[in-house]
Symmetry: C2
Subunit: 513 residues, 2 copies
């Protein structure tokens, strides 16, 4: 048995079922071992597809998939989506092939400092030899599962892959471990909730259904205010689920939202900070002074923590969730409002919506709280190009569930190669491109920076045309059927067709203005 086989078999026993791969010469023994071990491999045409898919898979499956990447440059191509995975707290396992151990000293063309790169997103180890490779692989999986868990990268010289190894480790499936809130944290939170100016900020695992219900009980019992974090790794929403306002993206709006809060309790999230800094504005969003109490962190079991809290409070077990009327299909020209309303009106129950719609997605988010129950996966780390790959991974984690990639056009272009993997794997993904043909957020930010009339050079850097990108042609290039729509009625038809059909399809929603 080779080191590669020992690694893959050990990883399979520990629960790794899937590998998002873009291998090269230094990964050939691992590639050859896939068939012998029986591990599923999904090819991405670019490494950012593989890492974003592993993030999406982890968010929905609650266990890591592996990526298989080619030395430093291959890993670098996947880094942006690993950054998002790190911010999402997703367990992701990277297998990175490297030169044979004796070959590193001669600085061959593809040699680079992989450890320095991988260290920026989490746990990293360089395997030393085939004999220890299975153990290294198990350690990497343990690091990914945590606590706290996250991105774990194992650098594997090719000789450690091809050399003989003693065999796989006798291990059984490992699961993600989430710690519940400590008695001390519970006590401090109970104390904070006695303050009239107490607010809860929910994030991470606190955005699952049972946690949301517990938060509603606590709010009903104490009168505290409750918000959800701005960009959540996984947020369960829709009819029958308590819905809390989202902390706004722009810091001045977020600060206004939190005005008057004297005690802020963090549940599955961090002390909120501005996404970007602005002149003479503080980085923190909570008012000064405001006491900060952490019930539990992003990697912890927030649902159990909130349930324990509700129990301690003696909160009512059942709190009625107000009926919210579902939006109707809009009519007329498409803008982000009619687009969002129409999508919210038609999205099927149980949909997984990967929301990288950026400025085009706000109206949908408002309407979707009344849509049938669904799960939203947001861009957690701000590294755009996460949506389409994340949809690939979510679809593979949840076969039979409709995935909707709700996608800004500018962001989607970073990793459009994901469309090919959707086609190859026949994934039930509906891609909705919000084609405003601009980096709209940058136009907003230029205005916020006081540049009311940007010059032609500045303006050209925020415009995605001419030429306009033809997303239907891009979809066809990668084997995905596509259609372009300009009205809400056309959009509704296209969405209904897509939701009814197996496999992927793309709808390019051309937005007016």
């Amino acid at each position: 048995m080779t080191g590669a086989e020992a690694l893959l078999e050990t990883s399979r026993r520990l629960g790794i079922e899937l590998c998002f791969a873009n291998p090269g010469t230094t990964e050939m023994p691992l590639v050859a071992a896939l068939d012998r071990v029986g591990l599923r491999a999904v090819l991405g045409l670019f490494e950012g597809v593989c890492t974003g898919a592993a993030d999406g898979y982890a968010r929905m499956a609650e266990r890591p998939a592996a990526t298989l990447l080619h030395l430093g440059p291959g890993f670098a191509n996947g880094l942006a989506n690993l950054h998002n995975a790190r911010r999402a707290g997703s367990p992701v396992l990277n297998w990175i092939g490297d030169h044979a151990s004796w070959h590193l000293a001669v600085d061959a063309p593809l040699t680079s400092d992989i450890r320095a790169l991988a260290g920026t997103v989490g746990w990293v180890r360089s395997a030393e030899n085939a004999a220890r490779l299975a153990r290294d692989g198990a350690d990497a999986i343990a690091a990914a599962l945590g606590p706290p868990g996250g991105v774990a990268s194992l650098i594997i010289p090719v000789d450690a892959q091809w050399d003989d190894a003693p065999g796989p480790l006798p291990l059984a499936t490992a699961r993600r471990n989430r710690a519940s809130a400590s008695a001390d944290a519970l006590e401090r939170t109970l104390c904070a909730l006695r303050s009239p100016g107490c607010g809860l900020l929910l994030g991470g695992h606190a955005l699952r259904g049972s946690a949301l219900h517990a938060a509603a009980q606590i709010r009903s019992h104490t009168g505290c205010r409750v918000w959800t974090e701005t960009f959540a790794a996984r947020h369960e929403r829709g009819a029958g689920l308590p819905d809390f306002p989202r902390l706004p993206y722009f810091p001045e709006q977020a600060r206004e939202t939190l005005l008057g809060v004297a005690e802020l309790v963090l549940v599955g999230t961090r002390n909120p900070v501005a996404f970007f800094a602005y002149p003479n504005q503080p980085s923190r969003l909570a008012p000064e002074p405001c006491a900060i109490t952490t019930l539990c962190g992003a990697h912890d079991d927030a649902a159990a923590s909130l349930e324990a809290l509700a129990h301690e409070l003696g909160a009512p077990r059942e709190v009625a969730v107000a009926d919210r009327p579902r939006a109707a299909v809009a009519s007329g020209p498409l803008d982000s409002g009619t687009l969002g309303r129409t999508l919210a009106a038609l999205q099927p129950e149980g949909a997984i919506v990967v929301d990288e719609a950026a400025t085009s997605g706000l109206a949908w988010a408002a309407h979707a709280s009344a849509a049938p129950p669904h799960t939203v996966l947001a861009l957690t780390g701000g590294a755009i190009g996460q949506g389409l790959p994340c949809a690939v991974g979510a679809a593979l984690a949840r076969p039979g569930q409709r995935v909707i990639a709700f996608q800004a056009d500018g962001s989607g272009l970073y990793t459009l190669q994901a469309l090919w993997t959707m086609a190859r794997e026949a994934l039930d993904v509906t891609v909705v491109i919000c084609a405003n043909r601009a980096y709209r957020i940058l136009q907003v930010e230029l205005a916020r920076a006081g540049i009311a009339e940007p010059g032609p050079k500045a303006r050209s850097l925020t415009q995605l045309g001419p030429p306009p990108v033809d997303w239907v042609a891009a979809a066809r290039a990668f084997g995905v059927p596509g259609t372009s729509v300009r009205s809400a009625e056309e959009l509704a038809q296209a969405l209904q067709r897509s939701f009814a059909a197996a496999g992927p399809s793309l709808v390019e929603a051309i937005l007016a203005g």
Copy 2:
């Protein structure tokens, strides 16, 4: 004047004319300053396009372009092509926006260790404030220009961009500095050339026309053998130019080529090593024993060094270059042979050929030595996805010259967004896609690893279909006219049309078998 304006104006004075940009919120003051300073900005839809273009520009212009990138994830997206630029010895200047200095401590979503990333490809500095920013920018340009020169990254907190600065530095255009061989190196080389088993390996700057002529004079005078390095940043070839055999890619072939060499003189290149290691094979390609003498390194002025050497030897000033009959257009089904012959038969004089054709490019390289004089830019660092972006940069450095992006399909898919920049900037680029619909090199490497019959999983990771990628649709998506051909006759027609027309076009050459 803002720090951003002081930086851009100082850089403009130092000779920076062009910025390949993919900015975000933390770069808005630099974006706004572009118009005020009058620096040309070219938008890439993905950062790998920007960095690859900066590499291509540097190879042809002999001075750096700037890139404008968005924090750590934006930089990471550009890293693979910076790795190639590093291996090419290209001067590239990166301006990387970062959070405001006071915002770093709160670990906002887009915060990451940019220094760790940038340090893997060259010089890096974090700007401290607006007052020093122009000085930091000048230092970065000096680092890029060298000697030795290369990739230089300046991390610029947004407050250093928007704060007031004293003004630009009073500097004038700086040029790339290349050192000539030392008297000592010349002496050692003269000594080595007295050995009957002496060979010269040419690379880097030694592959310019005048250097090649000097090498031919030296060969004629001493009888030494001469080779060129396998992957050259810039190689001038074609009718009238001395042509030397290229060191083969596979190490056993390279070792066989160098068999019997007792003294190997390195001119503008490094002691050759295998691209990848194989079991029980050494990393070095020169035979043991073989004395290694370095006349000059990759960053040095190899042409001047070789001319000095020829002069010291008293070599004849003129050596006739043998007439090589130009290949004729092929006929029949397309394979890498008929494709290469047809392209070599038709490519216009002065063409810049960006060769990322991988396994499909060997026949062309053989035939092209008899084509009219042209320049070849190769994949220097092995990080695939370099070709299309490099073609963008080369075209911007040399308006009026035809650029041919000779592109393997698998590699081209990493950074296909470059097609859009070709269309937007109306660049005279002919993209020739070698569509064998496989990662052919990996199929070869699987076989070399002894896996004669790969299993279905392994095989699927080397196949680019189903579904096949439709490159004509991909081109249309990005505003580039395209056509698909299956015979040498069709290819010849498509090439002639493309060479005759201004602006970009794409030819998808579907290869049989």
